[in-house]
């Protein structure tokens, strides 16, 4: 399953891209999507340069923070919310 993940700030700078492509092999039926923790694990494996930011990162799915067992589908808007720094 192919997932596109938007990235921002320092992560986007290091990745030299605003969008990362991630291939996820979800456990179970692919029609049910991939779990957020599966997407994060795949990101770390396929994009090691940004792996340092993933431990404290969260994924937003369709503009809402997701939990580790939230299902991500191919057409969802997925964003990596890492190393935020407002204020």
């Amino acid at each position: 399953m192919h997932v596109e993940v938007l990235v921002f700030g320092q992560v986007a700078e290091i990745a030299a891209a605003p969008l990362l492509h991630v291939e996820v092999n979800p456990a179970g039926d692919v029609q049910h999507g991939a779990r957020v923790d599966e997407v994060l694990r795949a990101m770390g494996e396929q994009h090691p340069s940004i792996a340092f930011a993933l431990a404290s990162a969260r994924l937003a799915v369709n503009h809402a923070f997701a939990t580790s067992d939230t299902r991500v589908h191919a057409r969802d808007e997925v964003a990596l919310i890492a190393l935020v720094g407002g204020g």
Binding site: A60, A79, G86, G87
Partner: protein, 148 residues
């Protein structure tokens, strides 16, 4: 209870802030005169002239460039403001945050809180700022002076 949160382009000057909160200005004025708040606290976040680089050594800064993930940033800011205002039973929570470039010495964040009592308003202020840095998708990137 007045709860208002917004993002503006560039630094938060007096004029920019007045413009940003214009939709609720009359309401704020009425609440201020009502005498129900025993404490109003205001926090201004200002861009410092140095920032540590990767090696931890402070380097001279020209500005900070703020970016946001929209529309989630506004939604998360609204939700946080409402959550803090309810949790601390505030009379008002008004916040304005910058997007884009803010030069050294200029204001990038303003938070004003009004409550019945001082302790309540100060606790709410600390909690809002801590959670802003965790829950609102805003990023700041340094613009180094030496890159001019």
């Amino acid at each position: 209870m007045i709860v208002f949160a917004t993002l503006v382009e560039g630094s938060i000057t007096r004029d920019a802030e007045a413009c940003a909160i214009a939709p609720i200005a009359a309401h704020v004025e009425r609440c201020t005169r009502a005498g129900t708040s025993g404490a109003t606290v205001r926090f201004e976040g200002i861009v410092r002239d140095t920032e540590p680089r990767g090696d931890g050594v402070p380097r001279a800064l020209k500005a900070l460039r703020y970016s946001s993930y929209d529309p989630m940033a506004q939604q998360a800011l609204d939700a946080l403001a409402l959550d803090i205002a309810r949790a601390h039973q505030l009379n008002a929570l008004i916040t304005v945050h910058s997007r884009g470039e803010v030069a050294v010495g200029e204001i990038s964040f303003v938070l004003t809180i009004a409550a019945c009592h001082r302790a309540q308003s100060l606790r709410a202020m600390g909690e809002f700022i801590d959670r802003l840095k965790q829950d609102v998708p805003l990023w700041k990137q340094p613009v180094w002076r030496e890159c001019e």
